[in-house]
């Protein structure tokens, strides 16, 4: 049968989502039914922009919507309407509140991501040859769901790492210039700052650039979640010691499979099949986790930079 799935991302042009789109296409090619993927997203990462797009997808009577939300709550009413019109809704990466979707696919468990970021910070601290040091978090916009959850998880994991002191959380709004300036501010304000954790691909890049420009490489390290292709240079220059990311291609791929299964009504209350990514377990609220993030450093970044 012919099917159409709308893939709504936070904003156009972000490398991470472009890769996820690749994964979605891979899935659609693999599935026997003819699936058309409509890849779309607003230009600026706003909820209002996504709502307009979802509105038009509803009008086009797509079969499923796969969305990474700019705001977990603001999208709920419109996605509820989509569901009322018989459209399946899956959120991935950055989730929508339970009422707005059937399944949310976390790239990994949030707890794991939070902990991993702190572990990365600890590794970077070693690289800075310090016993103890301050760390700061550079987030995306204050409304980004996943960011806030991960920051919460990081704070939970922190007590296990007494050598790290969290001194500040700042917001770069996923804008390169704002993130850059915030990084400068952090470095100037906290002389003992050793690590900046940026669990956002835009933020980590801008922060690494700012550290390089301030000639602080080797003193302050940037880590967090980023794409190998974008960070390869900074790993080589030493602004970034190591960082992590899950494979966005896999993420898009898995989300598409989940959407397909929902359309086919082949997902149960407790588990859903994700093609080559195996079977995901669903918790009571419909959350699924894909796999654990993968850590990149000087030893492997060049190799993966060619892929995503």
């Amino acid at each position: 049968a012919d099917m159409r799935i709308g893939l709504v991302v936070k904003a156009q042009g972000i490398g991470f989502f472009e890769a996820a789109y690749k994964g979605a296409q891979e899935a659609s090619a693999e599935i026997e039914d003819n699936i058309e993927i409509i890849y779309t997203g607003p230009v600026t990462p706003t909820a209002e922009g996504q709502i307009e797009i979802i509105n038009s997808l509803i009008s086009q009577k797509v079969d499923a919507i796969v969305v990474s939300a700019n705001d977990p709550d603001a999208l709920v009413p419109i996605l509820k309407r989509a569901q009322q019109r018989g459209i399946k809704v899956v959120s991935f990466d950055s989730g929508v509140a339970t009422a707005g979707r059937q399944i949310h696919l976390n790239p990994s468990s949030n707890e794991l991501i939070g902990r991993m970021n702190i572990e990365l910070a600890a590794t970077s601290l070693e690289a800075a040859k310090s016993e103890k040091g301050d760390i700061a978090i550079l987030s995306a916009s204050p409304t980004a769901t996943n960011q806030n959850i991960w920051i919460g998880e990081m704070e939970k994991a922190l007590p296990e790492f007494p050598q790290l002191t969290l001194v500040a959380t700042v917001y770069g709004d996923d804008l390169a210039d704002k993130s850059y300036r915030e990084t400068q501010g952090l470095v100037k304000t906290y002389p003992n700052l050793k690590v900046i954790v940026a669990p956002t691909t835009v933020g980590i890049l801008a922060a690494a650039q700012a550290i390089t420009d301030m000639k602080k490489t080797g003193e302050v390290f940037v880590t967090g979640l980023g794409l190998p292709s974008e960070l390869a240079g900074h790993v080589e220059s030493g602004a970034v010691n190591s960082f992590a990311i899950w494979n966005p291609i896999d993420l898009g791929y898995a989300a598409t499979h989940i959407a397909y299964n929902l359309i086919q009504d082949t997902a149960s209350e407790t588990e859903v099949e994700m093609g080559r990514m195996g079977v995901a377990q669903l918790d009571a609220e419909g959350n699924a986790a894909m796999s654990s993030p993968f850590v990149y450093d000087i030893s492997n970044v060049a190799e993966f930079a060619k892929i995503f």
């Binding site: 042009g13 230009v43 600026t44 390169a176 850059y180 300036r181 915030e182 100037k188 420009d213 390869a232």
Partner: protein, 327 residues
Amino acid sequence: MKQLLKNREAQLALVILSLLAMIGAIIPDFLAISNLLGVYTDTSILIILALGQMLVIITRCIDLSIAANVALTGMVVATINSLYPDFPVPVIILIGAGFGTLLGMLNGWLVWKMKIPSIVVTLGTMAIFRGAVFLISKGAWINAHQMSATFLEIPRYVFLGLPILGWCSVIVIAAMYYFTRHRQLGRKIYAAGNSPTAAYYIGVDVGKKQFIAFTISGLLAGIASYLWISRYAVAYVDIANGFEMLVIASCVIGGVSIAGGTGTVIGCVLGALFLGIINNALPVIGISPFWQMAISGSVIILAVIANSRSERKVGRIILRKAVQNAS
């Protein structure tokens, strides 16, 4: 001394000094020369754009598309560099300056020849320029690793303690100062904005002066675009989004009257520095980032209230005793 205090630039400079003193009282390190130079460098792009905007505002126009021009020209520059990494960077910079100028000329031409109010023109071109960035880039970002090392290095190269980026703005300030004070064309731009009728009577083509102001604003935006892209090492659709408001605010704080005809290079630079210092200092003094916007908003409002007080129309002076008092 009294005369000096009447001068708006002197007042603003005084405000900036006391602002610095206040910040210094909390964070003494902020006043370190190296840090101040850093703040200056960080404000350089704002200064360059504000000077372009100032010329436009002097001719009674406004350029809302200035940030979109930066984004579009920046994307062109970055695309050339990423596709042809061996292409000499100075040529790329020239192309950027030229391209920005063309965009400015387009605005100016629509204002001059089509007689459309500048706010409408630039509201339209703002959307068009940004859309064009999307069309060129197909929405994709161009990241640091796609740019050549020289491309990224030039503005960062430190010369006499100040990066080239900072020097660029120094040169632009000097050039604009010379242009607005010592060139015929510059003075005619003031005349055209101060009184279009009188300017017409002395043979100044007001529309053409507006065209020239937009052209220069475009040129400066073109230069700023390269600086922006290489500084932040990334090019994407949303670059400098909303920056036009900051640019206009710098002019307004610097005493450039929206009604046209007045405003000086020094005032405008001070206005930009004022915002630059605030933006740099807030994170440093540990004021929550959530306060930044409200503080800049209040500062803008206070500045225009102060300006409006000092600018209050003197009215005509007919009485002899009033003439004597005034002089």
